[in-house]
Symmetry: D2
Subunit: 186 residues, 4 copies
């Protein structure tokens, strides 16, 4: 078996077959909603207030190179908080020191559909249901793996047309929803 066919389960809790080949994943994506986590990485000041938002630059499902937040699939047998940590490490590196929230209550649930008309959140590959969290990071972040770049912008910059126009599939809206949840929507 090639390593590339095995999707790693970071904290595997079951010894049965927990992986999918690319073909199987492709097939499942056309038949079942897929569980995702979306994490808006932020830096906070000493009072916990958000001072900047981390925006990646990456290839997106729609084929564009766009600004984006951390996002990824929850694997079979994986806790949501482990999936958050895994995707944050994958996108921001291993020294980001994220503070995953103590509560499993997300600030929103984002429904991505293959059609852009249903909710405005769009993923041409699949129907994904993403639990969206705001995740403060305290450490050093560096774009890793699939990401080309990472910038930290103020809440005002993140909601300004310059960056909003660089986000696709509803990611710009999700960033504004996260800031609204923090009381910081301009």
């Amino acid at each position: 078996m090639r390593a590339s066919m095995v999707l790693y389960v970071s904290d595997m809790l079951d010894t049965r077959a927990t992986w999918l080949t690319d073909d199987e994943l492709q097939s499942a994506r056309q038949r079942l909603p897929i569980v995702y986590v979306d994490a808006v990485p932020v830096r906070v000041d000493g009072t916990g207030q958000v001072v900047s938002v981390g925006l990646l630059l990456r290839g997106m499902p729609d084929g564009s190179i766009s600004r984006a937040i951390v996002s990824g699939r929850v694997l079979y047998g994986e806790r949501i908080r482990d999936a958050l940590l895994r995707h944050i490490e994958k996108d921001l590196g291993g020294l980001a020191l994220p503070s995953v929230p103590a509560s499993p209550q997300p600030f929103s649930v984002v429904e991505y559909f293959p059609s852009p008309e249903v909710t405005g959140f769009h993923d041409p590959r699949q129907h994904a249901v993403a639990l969206a969290f705001i995740v403060p990071v305290r450490g050093d972040c560096a774009p890793s793996q699939d990401s080309l770049d990472l910038v930290w912008v103020t809440p005002d910059e993140a909601t300004a047309p310059e960056f909003q126009s660089e986000m696709t599939g509803g990611q710009g809206r999700l960033v504004r929803m996260a800031l609204a949840h923090c009381g910081l929507l301009a």
Copy 2:
């Protein structure tokens, strides 16, 4: 394909193949987390305060006949709020007049695992990620389809040992979490 093999999509938003045979669902359940909705049906007074909780009696995944809240799978292409309505209608009948919340933010996210040790929420069939909502109903409710019975109990009764001991897989805990969210945990 026999009609009985087709899972109905209540508000289908895509014309591609959106169904799974029983075998395919069985297989997916051992490879992917499945998106669920859990709905705690409540009756509220004129101020919105919960006065009673609806508890079904039904066959559960663990083989027991137990008290339970409304719960079910989200289908491919289905909005979360449509899945909530579909399962409430399935379990409480078509005259329940549910008020599905305006916000997609669930009060909690429940992670059911095949092993009872991971989170305490247990489903021997699958790894399910359930978005949990409190849903006030104003109409007439009657147990339908798979449910054998429906009782309305006060918040105090719902958290008392008599009913808690009749709930399995973490459902008793979920009811207490819902009441805690309403400020009504005894």
Copy 3:
């Protein structure tokens, strides 16, 4: 009548007895944060999704005549849900049939300060801490008492410059925060 002789009735629906003379309230407002409730009145469709937002036209603390949501003080001895009902009845009339949420968890907490610079939420009279809720109404609404007008606008209209520019003190931002919480920020 001495203030200490006034018995508060928890389900009181008018503002006659407030425990405080105007002078005393004036004085308290310069010494203590005042507890408020903010209610964004919405109409929802059969799936619970917001289809329109109710905007009042009224005289505001800053002296302007502006669009506004339902807002008011919580009285001594009054439950938050009773205060919500009282202010909704005061602003939308007695036939609005509001559904006050079952949970006391607000979608946000808004901090109004006499200085517009602290949070952007501004009330020249006082430091107010407002618990903000989205409240679906099913009945007939009519502007009453202090309100001059009431319009129902779509989520897109509510966030468009036309109506946003008619709201002061941060009310336009609060409406956008409410819609963001409902997943409907444009």
Copy 4:
């Protein structure tokens, strides 16, 4: 300078200037609901999951010496997050390294009344409306000022009769509500 003339500085971290003499505060407490913050201090593991809850031992409003969480008044002109920091420092010392949440949305709002019958949350001195937050702390904590002791207990211990029976005024219930919000109610 008289206390009433003292201007509050928003980032002030001690309790010296409170805008109100003791008499004035006493009077206000019988006429207005008072804004409070309640903070449940927790320690979390690397995945953000709560592993222990901090319980103080202190003199309570009802005259008892009881286990309690961090709690205190929000001052005129003070941001909620500044009040949280101030009370955490007052109760746990200046080296606690608290992570105040990025969002102002509390996990619950607790209504304390002079009568124990209204909500079960009881404060004989006043009607207080407390915004309740779960606050992870990473540093060294030591009971300070009014607190006699501080213990860290597991979620299971915190909800067990031994500690629940040592909490009055609804504090035991609030701890269970916090743990329910974290998905950890036993």
